[in-house]
Amino acid sequence: MTSEELGTGGAPEWNPEWASWAAAAREEFPRAQSALMPFLHRVQTDEGWLRPEALDAAAHYLELPRQYVESVVSFYSLFRTEVTGHRTIHVCMSLSCALAGSDALLHNLEEALGVRVGQTTPDGAYTLLEAECLAACDLAPACQVNLRYVGPVPPERFQTLLEEEVSTREDA
């Protein structure tokens, strides 16, 4: 859709708040390219992932080519473009954590959740992801739950990751 067809309000499936968030990001970073990331982060914090509509909206409000937005989103691995659960669990797979048993930890989590790595449980509660080095070797095997560090988590104590009280997205 061209911007003329969209007008200022946007398409129906767009969050009405997005316009103001984009304006706020633009306030902080006058260059549209720079304002893109803060806007996308805010949308992702809100919804957990970036719907295609959100990318349309980013291109529209920040007056950037849609292709540019797509390119940026695909570049950063922490931008999610698939449905994400309420708790996103990252398990570090790099050297120290691997030596400390992160393979087994991931395996146990897969068994417990019934999904493979990269997938989300059907009830939308958990998303299980691999991470490259989290720079927390002292916590090996290190994990993140909604980007908050948890560790060390020995493989057999995987349950703590699922139950531990961490700030969920709703609280943030």
């Binding site: 003329e4 067809e5 849609r66 292709q67 797509e70 390119s71 695909s74 570049f75």
Partner: protein, 747 residues
């Protein structure tokens, strides 16, 4: 850059990412060279050559570096060469063969990605074969300014793709196929069609608009299967998709392949014989004035020469004229060149949007804007500038361009011709004075003009004289493709000559009218006159490639060979002669015009002698037509038509719609050729932003699909000229009524 410096002395340094038009990037690293006093290997495409620099391109270190880079590039490259369209003309193949290691050391599984992924109806991406040089992404994003391709992902997972659901629509997207140094971006119509060794690839020039882009035509088994851009000194070799993908028009089902007499198929020889005998009888009885020849300006210079001599020597001095879709005549003395455009201090778009009428000129303008900050001026009856070509524009009332230009010139110049041209016009207001000042700036001025409004010719002459010694050049963006060939051989190209011929035909003073590639009912600005001429003239014969409008009125049809079916010379909008070679064979009975005319001349009893000894280049300077001096008096420009209520019709030329019929290019052909402001469409009740409308003026009306375009001012309807089934030239006045109509069921 070192690469360019090396090329000037004949040393080839391999490159993928570097392209002179796009500038240095240094992404692919294949151009590594050893430069003395620099500690490491340097990329030759990002290092500026300096005095005293010593560069080794063949040293051990440089070769090792290249070999290493090639090994990296091949890690995830599939062993696809036998099924790859680029196989045999691929820079990866060539460089690996020349510089690469013989054996791969990478034993892991290769990453699998999309193959044959369509990013547009014409372009496939094979992401596995890509070397990520970014030429395509940068060409689309930076050079064309339509960022339609993107790099998705990061690191080894990066791929070239489009946004899902948003295919490439730019008319320049086809160039990425030529730009791709490997087999990643492929032409869908050429996919699996041929290989470099079983084709005929010949130098030619695009046949679809008067820009005449240098290109290579590929023929296989007698058919044209591909057209590619061909860089020449001073030109990058870009093509627009309208030209690139119209290559198959010679094989279109509507193509004329057999001769006809009174609707009955006959052999070409028989038809030529009958025509020759008829012409002989008519000339004997009524004299040569009872026969007239109209050319459509699509045949070659050699063909036009034969036509001219046929009229002069065989018929004994019959009149000849040119049918073109615009009413104005370009003062040939002002004809400019692309080189002059690149050096102009001011460029004026006069009624024409080159993106539509001469797309590759749009790219040239954009490059000038980017490279040296050229500010384009535009004067038109609609918005002529666009997002990718910024500038300053003046939008005037329909039919008011000539008056505005004359008034603007007279507003700042005391030159008597400028005064004379503006006689009786309202004096220039503040905005027009600003235009006048911009046009009177010292330095060179180039005007791009699409030939509408007859009075623009005197206004341009007045402007040129008022500017005095500062050069004023005009590049005509109107077709037909080869109309200047008529000028080359001395066939009058002015509107008045062809109008008189058609008037005489309509009045019954012409017994035989010979149309050579001309389609007056469709193209001639006065379509009613042309239709009357075809109806009243006792015998109309047609020679050409596609049947004209009103084909049922023709006494005879002779099929001629088309572009790429024979070698021939064309003249582009600069007046430059360009000889293209053939790579296909003419289908059916189609034959070169020269052969047909010779057969007619023999039947007439006066064979043409030494037809093939003529050299089109004889007497040209730098392969360009010799221009006449600027002479003649300037006449006052008539005032613009009074503003009326209701919609007003404006027009222009659009290659995307008026190119030859093509099955390949039909994939993206717009079926809503007319355009209106979206708000006007909404007022008509066309809330979806497009739909069919009925345009009427007086008792004339026709239906046409219309779409929204905010660049059309409110209260105006833009309809391109020269479209089949859209008889805008028969509508009379410029005041039209517009009515939304129901969608026709069959569409």
């Amino acid at each position: 850059m070192v690469v360019d410096a090396a090329a000037t002395v004949g040393i080839d340094i391999p490159v993928y990412c570097y392209h002179q038009a796009l500038g240095p990037l240094g992404a692919c690293r294949i151009c590594l060279v050893e430069i003395e006093k620099m500690p490491k290997l340097m990329t030759a495409c990002t290092t500026a050559a300096t005095d005293g620099m010593v560069v080794h391109t063949q040293s051990q270190a440089a070769e090792k570096g290249r070999r290493g880079i090639l090994e990296f590039l091949l890690i995830n490259h599939p062993l696809d060469c036998p099924i790859c369209d680029k196989g045999g003309e691929c820079f990866l193949q060539d460089y690996v063969f020349q510089y690469g290691a013989g054996q791969a050391r990478f034993e892991e599984a290769k990453i699998q990605r999309h193959k044959e992924y369509p990013v547009s109806p014409y372009i496939l991406v094979d992401q596995e074969r890509c070397v990520l040089c970014q030429r395509c992404v940068r060409f689309m994003g930076e050079y064309v300014g339509e960022e339609e391709l993107l790099m998705d992902g990061r690191g080894v997972h990066t791929v070239i793709t489009n946004v899902p659901g948003i295919p490439l629509t730019s008319p320049f997207s086809g160039n990425v196929i030529d730009l791709c140094p490997v087999g990643a971006l492929l032409s869908e119509p050429y996919h699996y069609r041929a290989r470099p060794w079983n084709i005929e690839r010949e130098d030619t020039y695009c046949s679809q608009c008067p820009v005449g882009c240098s290109s290579s035509v590929t023929g296989r088994d007698g058919q044209v299967v591909r057209l590619e851009g061909r860089p020449t000194p001073g030109q990058w070799g870009w093509l627009c998709d309208h030209g690139r993908f119209t290559y198959d028009f010679g094989a279109h089902p509507t193509r004329l392949t057999e001769a006809r007499l009174d609707g009955e198929p006959v052999t070409v020889g028989r038809a030529a014989q009958v025509l020759g005998q008829r012409l002989a009888a008519v000339v004997r009885e009524h004299g040569p004035d009872a026969v007239a020849v109209l050319t459509g300006g699509s045949h070659t210079v050699e063909d036009h020469y034969a036509l001219r001599r046929f009229a002069d020597e065989v018929l004994g001095g019959s009149r000849a004229g040119l049918v073109k879709p615009v009413e104005a005549d370009l003062p040939l003395a002002l004809l400019g060149t692309f080189a002059e455009l690149d050096q102009s201090d001011t460029v004026l778009l006069l009624g024409t949007d080159p993106y539509e009428s001469a797309p590759v000129v749009h790219l040239a303008l954009r490059e000038n804007v980017r490279r040296r900050g050229l500010v384009v001026k535009a004067l038109g009856d609609r918005h002529l500038l666009r997002d990718t070509l910024a500038g300053e524009e003046w939008v005037v009332e329909p039919g008011g361009m000539a008056a505005a230009l004359a008034a603007a010139t007279a507003g700042v110049s005391e030159h008597p011709d400028a005064r004379l041209a503006a006689e009786g016009l309202a004096p220039a207001d503040e905005s027009l004075v600003r235009l006048g000042q911009a046009l009177m700036e010292p330095g060179a001025l180039t005007v791009l003009w699409d030939g509408r409004e007859q009075d623009l010719a005197p206004a341009l002459v007045a402007l040129a004289r008022a500017r005095g010694e500062h050069p004023t050049r005009v590049l005509p963006t109107f077709g037909p493709r080869n109309w200047l060939a008529a000028a080359r051989v001395g066939i009058p190209t002015d509107y008045e000559t062809s109008r008189r011929i058609l008037m005489d035909a309509a009045d019954g003073r012409i017994q035989v009218l010979l149309l050579w590639g001309a389609d007056p009912v469709r193209d001639f600005p006065d379509g009613d006159l042309a239709a009357r001429a075809l109806e009243r003239c006792p015998e109309v014969y047609f020679g050409g490639v596609f049947p004209p409008d009103g084909a049922e009125l023709l006494a005879g049809v002779l099929p001629t060979a088309a572009w790429a079916e024979e070698a021939g010379t064309y003249v582009n909008m600069e007046g430059r002669l360009q000889t293209g070679r053939g790579a296909a064979s003419a289908p059916g009975q189609a034959r070169p015009t020269r052969n047909i005319l010779q057969a007619v001349a023999r039947a007439y009893g006066t064979p043409l002698r030494k037809l093939d000894e003529w050299d089109p280049y004889e007497g040209t300077v730098d392969d360009r037509l010799v221009l006449p001096p600027l002479e003649g008096s300037v006449r006052p420009v008539s005032p613009p038509p009074a503003a009326e209520s209701g919609f007003r019709l404006i027009s222009g030329l659009e290659v995307a719609l008026t190119h030859d019929p093509s099955e390949v290019a039909a994939r993206t052909k717009e079926d809503r050729p007319a355009r209106m402001h979206p708000a006007d469409l909404a007022d008509l009740g066309l809330l979806t932003g497009s739909g069919p409308v009925e345009l009427s003026s007086g008792d004339r009306s026709f239906r046409v699909g219309v779409r929204g375009d905010p660049r059309i001012p409110r209260g105006r309807v833009f309809v391109p000229r020269g479209l089949r089934g859209v008889p805008i030239n028969r509508l009379g006045g410029i005041a039209v009524a517009v009515r939304a109509v129901e969608e026709v069921a069959s569409r």
